[in-house]
Amino acid sequence: MKVIFKKSYDRDIDLFKDRQTALRIGLLVLVLVLVPFFASDYFLAEATNTLIWSLAGLGLMVLVGHTGQVSLGHAAFLAIGAYTDAALMNAGWPWLLAFLTAGAVTGVFGAIIAIPAIRMSGIYLAIATMALAVLVEEAVILAEPITGGVAGVFAPDIAIFGISFGRYDSLPNFYWLCLAVVVIVTFGYANLLRSATGRSFLAVRDSEISARALGINVSRTKTLAFGLSCAITGLAGGLMGHFFSFFNYEAFTIIISINLLLAVTIGGLGHIQGAFAGAILITAVPQVLAIVRDGLSNIGVDLSGVPGLDTLVFSLILIGFIIYEPLGIYGRYLKIKAFWDLFPLSRRDMFRRQMTYLKTERMK
């Protein structure tokens, strides 16, 4: 086990806990920056999709993983982000302005939704947010002048100072743009977690009653968490719109909400890394399954005639994770790491959860 020798409080306040971690993250970002130079267009498009899902996952993680509020309606916030961004650009706004406005609008919308939502928790909140998603889907169809109704809307190609960031004609640029957004949001998220705001989120998640006794305004904290979460999700929606180029209400169904919630849960609730792990799983598994199926058909096993097989296997993988690894992929990684760090002294029940997030409030 590595023991870090701390000589100042800043060692705990700094973004990275030691130089190795900083180097490792730096290297990872560098590799991600270099991806377009060796990846095929197909792979690069998939990587871009994963980045956008990671961003959406980060948004939901703020709410579910760090504030303990479940949402099954985040597809609605993706939709609001996507439509706002596309509509503003179609009205002639430059991308950056449209994009940031889309984030802000979604954030404000989320904060307004929070006002009734913060009275609920657990399963009731999940149902309420799901109902909201259905409402937004209907509203999208009705608001035809902005959203194009059932037909859908076109998200113009992004251009900054005459340089194209179009999803089709300059995919590497679009990839880098998404990467930049993800890096910036992750940086802000990490900052949040090492300061008072992030701690107030965690406090509300783990014990509302204690949070109040410490002077934390629980309603305001939840509203803020909703706002931030939805703003980030709105940004992801904005990028997603450009990734689709052309989309209608069908792009943001309840399935997307469920997948997103699955992504953060399976990735590992309460860890930034979990949002990434989950996004990779959710976006990569269907691709891997397709490749496997093609491989099988090459050796004579033709499964293309079996409808829904991919979905079935995908679902089984997800269910398996939920049942056998409730702490998620990142939780599993931490366990393995702790096992080797402490080898041979690790205890079996070291990670056993003592209380769940959905516990009842006791006042005694």
Binding site: Y9, N191, S195, A196, T197, R205, A213, L214, G215, K364
Partner: protein, 267 residues
């Protein structure tokens, strides 16, 4: 001057009058202890002072100001901190971050500054940390600084809860059964800490406690309640030998020192 004044406080849950017309004063700098059989309404009094429960009648004053109708999250910034009978820590965080959460009322940054982690945010973090380290030293929690709460023994968790309350930097500290479930040695530590908090930090302490050894050792005054009503008030020995108090405890079975209920010892 009394720091805390409770006047004719009552609360009813349905038909049950859990606290019934109770009045008492806690003077600045004293250790004031509430005793009484299980279900006497002691924790309910704390919950009304913390503003978790709305009294049906009566008033509460702190530092000369009425706090009877303030929202719960306004209480800490006035300088009232508390612990819970059944530990209420943030289980998935470390001891250090639990204590830092106690500094919430002293934060000087806005969300934007936190998101960008400006110099002010860093300075703020450093000052919180300095204060929290004082608490860690005082309660001898150094060895547990980076441990997750979920993995800590019961006794340590109880101490962390006191630490989190101290991190607020309160004038009045409410301790709900600080020694319940603790070993003899741990209880003795709690007694020393209470003495030091009073003498060196100048804190006023309102405590609920069943362990009469601890109560006698640290309390300046003791108030006995039963069924939410006033029984007797005075020094620990005066209250203990008061006929009404003896009778109230006889009703629950054990003379003077009621046994710990299972849920208290285990929770």
């Amino acid at each position: 001057m009394s720091l805390l004044e409770v006047r004719d406080l009552s609360i009813a849950f349905g038909g049950l009058k859990a606290v019934d017309g109770l009045s008492f004063d806690v003077a600045e700098g004293e250790v004031f202890t509430l005793v009484g059989p299980n279900g006497a309404g002691k924790s309910t009094i704390f919950n009304m002072i913390s503003r978790f429960y709305e009294p049906t009648e009566g008033k509460i004053f702190f530092d000369g100001e009425e706090i009877t109708h303030l929202p719960a999250h306004k209480i800490a910034e006035l300088g009232i901190a508390r612990t819970f009978q059944n530990i209420e820590l943030f289980d998935h965080s470390t001891v250090l971050s639990n204590l830092l959460m106690g500094r919430h009322v002293h934060r000087k940054t806005q969300v934007i500054q936190d998101l960008l982690f400006t110099r002010k945010a860093r300075a703020d973090e450093r000052s919180h940390r300095r204060r929290v380290e004082e608490v860690i030293t005082f309660l001898e929690l150094e060895a547990h600084r980076d441990s997750l709460i979920a993995g800590l023994p019961y006794g340590v968790r109880k101490v962390v809860e006191i630490g989190r309350a101290l991190a607020i930097g309160p004038k009045l500290l409410l301790l709900d059964e600080p020694a319940s479930g603790l070993s003899v040695e741990e209880t003795r530590d709690v007694a020393f800490w209470i003495e030091d908090m009073k003498r060196e930090m100048g804190l006023t302490i309102l405590m609920i406690e069943h362990d009469m050894g601890l109560v006698s050792a640290v309390s300046d005054r003791v108030l006995a309640v039963a069924d939410g009503k006033f029984l007797a008030q005075g020094t620990a020995s005066e209250v203990q030998s008061h006929p009404d108090v003896i009778e109230a405890y006889l009703g629950t079975g054990v003379n003077g020192e009621p046994e710990l209920k299972k849920e208290e010892a285990g929770a």
